[in-house]
């Protein structure tokens, strides 16, 4: 099978009057369709930059990013990006917020609206359709934000610490919830997080980055048996702490 996303020796630096900050250095990585990748690393190491590059908001300085085997700008790949905070607009109802992406891409039609409605239904938001976002709980807001992203039927879903603004308990629930949604919809996903446990519970493979400028220190494939294959069950799997230990050591040894 052909990889859906490839990084080929990608480097990137930020420029400001105070000087140049190298964010990513020589990143090479390929992601298969349907894979769930988690990216972990020290804070400020360039994880978000990685996502901005995939989405095309930033362009690599050297190297190349390929989507479906074609160069980033020409691939026509549809990329969904979920930011740290949900940014639901208070001046729109939940329904209108969820339709925002379709509206921007001029894809509002009977079919797309119907599919959004069925997602609202599946994920328990139908009752809040015409409410304002402030009526939603933190977890429901994240779900609404996810539906807004999924409404565009992205080939690749980028998640930038989407649970970091939630309190611990909600975070576990929403992680389970959203992880489940992404699996069920069969999406390729790349999750950036600094929460190691979150990465282990959700991903197929974990990419461990070094300090800035970020290089790939290690790519760790995860294997859980079928009895432990939802995020919450993974936490109690015997190999969970082994993986945790391994990533922790890898991050610690990074000078």
């Amino acid at each position: 099978m052909e990889p859906i996303l490839e990084f080929i020796h990608v480097s990137f630096s930020y420029h400001s009057m105070d000087g140049e900050t190298a964010a990513l250095s020589d990143i090479s990585l390929s992601v298969m369709p349907g894979e769930f990748i988690a990216v972990v690393g020290p804070s400020g190491c360039g994880k978000t930059t990685l996502l901005s590059l995939i989405s095309g908001l930033l362009l690599p300085e050297t190297g190349e990013i390929r989507l479906f085997g074609k160069a980033q700008g020409t691939s026509g790949a549809n990329i969904g990006y979920m930011l740290q905070r949900d940014h639901l607009f208070e001046w729109r109802t939940v329904y209108d917020n969820v339709l925002l992406g379709l509206e921007i891409r001029h894809k509002l039609s009977h079919d797309t609206k119907a599919s959004v409605c069925s997602m609202l239904d599946t994920y328990g938001l139908t009752a809040f359709r015409d409410a304002s976002p402030s009526a939603l709980s933190g977890g429901m807001r994240q779900r609404a934000a996810l539906i807004r992203t999924l409404a565009l039927e992205p080939d690749i879903l980028l998640l930038d610490e989407p649970f970091s603004a939630l309190d611990y308990q909600t975070r576990l629930e929403v992680g389970d919830d959203i992880g489940g949604i992404i699996r069920r919809e069969g999406r390729t996903a790349i999750l950036v997080t600094h929460d190691l446990a979150e990465a282990i519970t959700l991903a197929d493979r974990i990419v461990i980055l070094s300090h800035r400028p970020a290089r790939i220190r290690k790519i760790l494939p995860l294997h859980f048996d079928d009895n432990h294959n939802t995020p919450l069950k993974r936490r109690s799997a015997p190999c969970f702490s082994g993986y945790f230990e391994e990533i922790w050591k890898e991050l610690k040894s990074d000078g």
């Binding site: 607009f89 001046w91 304002s132 565009l152």
Partner: protein, 266 residues
């Protein structure tokens, strides 16, 4: 609230509403005291009512001028000019702020000039405007617009620039362009700011219209004030000032109502 109120809550609410009535009564009392002592001292002759006028003389003038309809003509003219220039200021202000947001280099280029024009005392422009535009309503509207428009542009532009950059990023991640950012994020999120700016602008426009009418009018409240002072009919002057007070309060209230309606949930 479906639950019955606790005693403490009921007491609290009662205390709050009592407080409101006390303040209202105090405000009314202050008004009566002011108007009453003005009238009282004028009647006693301690206050020269030829110079200071008096509430009863103002009322008399009001009814005389109301009867022949001339007063409403003057008020109507001033109102029309104020609303007209207010609308112009809002349209020009919003449009220019959007353009400046869309072209940051242009904004950078124009910044010192905007600051200068904004702090320039606009009454200094009025004589120039008369020469350029003539002794007519164009001058008055131009004076009013010049008083408010530069500050409006700067306020709105600053407001646009302060919108959460992540909200803008969201639009881009959804595949939007700068146009989408402007109309889906900046303008809606700036509604409270725009309404606040309207409050300031309506007041400034009134100032500008009165300055304009002082110099270039034969109708309007500004004209009445100048005319009255020239022929030493202080009753007309004072009455016009009182009407201006009432008008500006009404403007403020109208926009507060708008604010309640549109800016509730942001």
């Amino acid at each position: 609230m479906d639950k019955p109120l606790s005693t403490a809550q009921a007491n609290y609410l009662r205390a709050r509403s009592r407080h409101r009535y006390v303040v209202l009564a105090g405000q009314l009392l202050l008004f009566i005291l002011f108007v009453g002592s003005w009238e009282f001292f004028a009647r006693l002759g301690l206050l020269n009512d030829f110079i200071f006028s008096s509430p009863s003389r103002m009322a008399k003038t009001f009814f005389e001028m109301a009867k022949d309809g001339s007063l409403f003509l003057h008020i109507g003219i001033t109102l029309t000019e104020t609303f007209g220039s207010f609308l112009l200021v809002m349209v020009i202000g919003l449009f220019t702020a959007m353009v400046l947001w869309g072209f940051p280099s242009l904004a950078e280029l124009l910044e010192p000039y905007l600051v200068m024009l904004n702090s320039l005392p606009k009454s200094a422009l009025a004589p120039v405007l008369i020469v350029w535009l003539g002794n007519n309503v164009k001058t008055i509207v131009a004076a009013a617009v010049s008083v408010a428009v530069f500050g409006s542009v700067m306020t709105l532009h600053t407001g646009f620039k302060q919108v959460d950059p992540d909200k803008i990023k969201l639009i881009y991640t959804l595949g939007g362009n700068r146009r989408d950012v402007l109309f889906k994020v900046l303008v809606p999120s700036a509604i409270p700011l725009i309404i606040n700016n309207m409050k300031v602008n309506i007041g400034l426009c009134l100032v500008g219209v009165i300055i304009g009418e002082f110099l270039a009018a034969n109708k309007g409240l500004g004209y009445l004030i100048i005319y009255g002072s020239q022929v030493f009919k202080m009753d007309i002057v004072m009455m016009s000032i009182v009407i201006l007070c009432i008008l500006s309060m009404i403007f403020y209230r109208i926009i507060s109502l708008l604010e309640k309606k549109f800016a509730g949930k942001r």
